[in-house]
């Protein structure tokens, strides 16, 4: 009966954290928690999505997110199909709507979409009969990443409120940052964004975050430190002068992590640029880094999302 409550503002799709509320987030995390236990026990629940079709529609390369959704779908018994569409080979927009028509004809139930343009999943959602799950769109949102980060935090810290979270690096081009900021502030955490001014987007304060350009200040007393991937094309001369300058001032190493609380957790959405936004020494530190756990939580969270959307469409 919880599934009626989950995602109540957008019952058919999961397009972003925007549109969720604390009740629906908590319900999703609780459900995901049960899937963590199920996955660890080695059991599966293959009857839940039996006969349902899940299509992973990826217009942008991704190994981990696609695999994670694929695994989640298969563990719930869905028929999973992967479609990779190269954006360069076909005219972008027509592909999107032509694809929507094709998918409708295939009677797809769950459509996982990644696209390099903000709002593309929302556009598809208007045209397809399936439930659309945004697996990352441009610089807009990546809701399942924020949910898996929240689950990781909640399991380690025992709560997902009242924490100080520092998100570091390229905020401007990060959909992970946006979804995390929306979720974490909604749940009552203190969120800071830390990075050079050229990588902090205009008007971000409106979401209730504080902006810092100095890691010592931004990480001071933090419970959670999230490093973001710095895209290669931003590294040379455009937004920042060089990756070595970036690492010097914003790369997460042991010295900078020292500003955070002694038990602060280190997170990264992956894939990492070691030596750019995060030092290997930190990334591989089993005591501080929960980066591998994030991947595990990813499968559980996606199972919870697929489960609740699939049930929702039954109603």
């Amino acid at each position: 009966m919880w599934s009626k409550r989950v995602l109540m503002t957008s019952p058919r799709h999961l397009l972003g954290i925007e549109g969720l509320n604390p009740v629906s987030v908590t319900a999703l995390l609780d459900l995901a928690e049960s899937y963590v236990l199920l996955n660890r026990s080695g059991k599966t629940q293959r009857d839940l999505l039996r006969g349902r079709t899940l299509i992973n529609l990826f217009f942008e390369d991704s190994t981990r997110t696609r695999t994670s959704f694929e695994l989640a779908g298969k563990r719930l018994g869905a028929d999973v199909i992967n479609m990779s569409v190269s954006t360069s080979s076909v005219t972008k927009g027509e592909t999107l709507l032509d694809t929507a028509a094709t998918l409708n004809a295939m009677n797809c139930d769950l459509l996982v979409v990644r696209h390099n343009r903000s709002g593309a999943p929302a556009l598809l959602a208007q045209k397809v009969e399936a439930s659309v799950i945004n697996a990352g769109d441009g610089t807009h949102e990546h809701p399942t990443q924020a949910l898996l980060d929240a689950l990781t935090i909640r399991r380690r810290k025992g709560r997902i409120s009242g924490l100080t979270v520092a998100i570091c690096g390229d905020i401007a081009h990060s959909r992970v940052a946006r979804s995390n900021i929306l979720l974490l502030t909604m749940m009552g955490n203190f969120v800071r964004v830390v990075g050079p001014p050229t990588l902090i987007p205009s008007g971000i304060e409106a979401a209730g975050v504080t902006v810092h350009h100095d890691m010592a200040e931004g990480l001071a007393g933090a419970d959670i430190v999230m490093a973001l991937r710095l895209q290669k094309e931003r590294m040379s001369g455009g937004m920042i002068p060089s990756s070595r300058e970036f690492f010097n001032f914003y790369g997460l190493d042991r010295a900078k992590l020292g500003f955070a609380k002694p038990d602060a957790l280190v997170m990264h959405p992956g894939p990492m640029n070691r030596g750019v936004e995060i030092d290997s020494d930190i990334a591989d530190d089993a005591l501080r880094s929960v980066i591998k756990e994030q991947v595990e939580m990813g499968v559980a969270v996606r199972m919870a999302v697929l489960d609740s959307l699939a049930r929702g469409t039954n109603l």
Binding site: G93, E94, G119, R175
Partner: protein, 422 residues
């Protein structure tokens, strides 16, 4: 012969509405006054509560032809214009081919005459092909009938080129019309920079991109003695600069378009590509500033800024969608909404759509004057209609006002005394 009775007409000389009658004879406005008597054989049109004003003069529109007939043709635009009460359109030159040749200027003019319902006044290209590289032939284009020079939706980015354009055009007493946007700052942008664009993950264009271009071009107008007109001005900062330049007596004018005083950036929520315009919709404070500038006379005219697009141009991820909104059918209604809200008086609003752009263009229509061509628009200010994409007159349906209820229903449009709508 047509006699309009029981109407209010706009007396342009005193900027007031009078109850009375207006007589059209041989395609001309023969007379108007409180009571004219009924001449033999006159068709009588009575419309209690309705207002008769000059046919609207739209000083900025793209018509799709030549080159983009899938979006709009001159015939379909003429139909939309007539339904919107518009009888004169100044046509942007950034078509394909661009209007950078005297023959093309004459072609546009002739196509308007063929329509029988709308006068088309072509802008000439400011640069060859509107490519922003070499000056177009201003003298020859003017002789063929070009009304001013512009690169349409493209800003003249180079300071050196803009200086030369202003300088050279001044020799022919012609204006340069600028799409005021710093090209480099705006490159790749899809929405006004700020928290909304940030949360939607859209590349932003700072409002300052407009002010920077306006400040530069005012300075270049001063340097050259040239005349500059800023099209679709949208920001408080740019309007303040223009206000100041006018106070200093420089040859600076500007217009805006209905979306910029009726909508703000929230209209792009849920990635509504029909609300993707160029310049982009702005913050609420800027919308308020545009309203103020309309009321205080800083803005010289309201233009439709009609940019026809078809569904395929718009059914794309927001950043890829083509900017621009259909504006002909809604020009009057959206402007009149500011009369209902108390920001403008009825004569003020109508002047921004008729007499003021007509004066700017130097044409004899746009005012009710005895002996002038009877280009007329009869509308009822209290009757409402709903803007519905898919049901607009003309071909292009990309209205940013979809679903909006408007008061101000056009009952009829006359071109040189001939009824072309209603």
């Amino acid at each position: 012969m047509i006699l309009f009775r029981k109407i209010r007409y706009l007396d342009s000389a005193v900027q007031a509405l009078h109850e009375g009658e207006l007589l059209v004879q041989d395609g001309m406005i023969a007379d108007f006054g409180p009571s004219l008597g009924v001449p033999d054989g006159a068709e009588i049109i009575e419309a209690e509560g309705a207002i008769l004003c000059p046919g609207l003069v739209d000083m900025r529109a793209s018509l799709g032809e030549p080159g983009f007939e899938y979006r709009e043709t001159i015939a379909s635009a003429a139909q939309a214009a007539a339904a919107g009460g518009i009888t004169t359109i100044a046509v942007l030159p950034d078509s394909a081919p661009a209007i950078d040749d005297p023959a093309l200027v004459r072609l546009i003019t002739a196509r308007g005459a063929e329509s029988g319902s709308v006068t088309l006044l072509p802008y000439g290209a400011a640069t060859r092909g509107c490519q922003g590289q070499e000056l177009a032939e201003y003298g020859l284009l003017k002789a063929a009938g070009a009304i001013a020079f512009t690169d349409g939706s493209r800003a003249i980015g180079s300071s050196r080129l803009m200086r030369r354009a202003l300088s050279y055009a001044s020799g022919f007493n012609m204006r340069i019309v600028q799409h005021p946007e710093d090209v480099e700052l705006a490159a790749g942008g899809a929405a006004t920079e700020g928290s909304r664009a940030t949360w939607m993950g859209l590349p932003g264009i700072p409002a300052a991109a407009e002010a920077i271009c306006v400040a530069r071009d005012i300075r270049l107008a001063e340097l050259t003695g040239g005349a500059v007109h800023f099209a679709h001005v949208t920001t408080a900062e740019a309007l303040a600069l223009i206000r100041h330049a006018k106070e200093r007596g420089l040859s600076v004018t500007c217009d805006t378009a209905p979306p910029y005083f009726d909508l703000n950036e929230t209209a792009i929520g849920d990635f509504r590509t029909y609300a993707k315009l160029s310049p982009p919709l702005r913050a609420e404070a800027d919308r308020q500033a545009v309203l103020e500038a309309l009321a205080d006379g800083t803005i010289d005219a309201v233009a439709s800024d009609h940019q026809p697009r078809d569904a395929d141009d718009k059914r794309l991820p927001f950043a890829d969608a083509s900017p621009g909104g259909a504006g002909l059918a809604t020009l009057l209604g959206v402007t009149l909404a500011q009369v209902q809200s108390g920001h403008l008086t009825m004569p003020q609003a109508l002047a921004l759509l008729t007499a003021k752009p007509a004066a700017w263009l130097g044409i004899e229509t746009g005012v009710l004057r005895r002996g002038a061509p009877a280009d007329l628009c009869l509308f009822h200010p209290d009757r409402s209609w709903r803007v519905t994409s898919g049901q607009l007159p003309g071909k292009s349906q990309n209205t940013p006002f979809d679903g909006r209820a408007l008061e101000g229903l056009v009952l009829g449009t006359w071109k040189a005394g001939k009824r072309v709508f209603g």
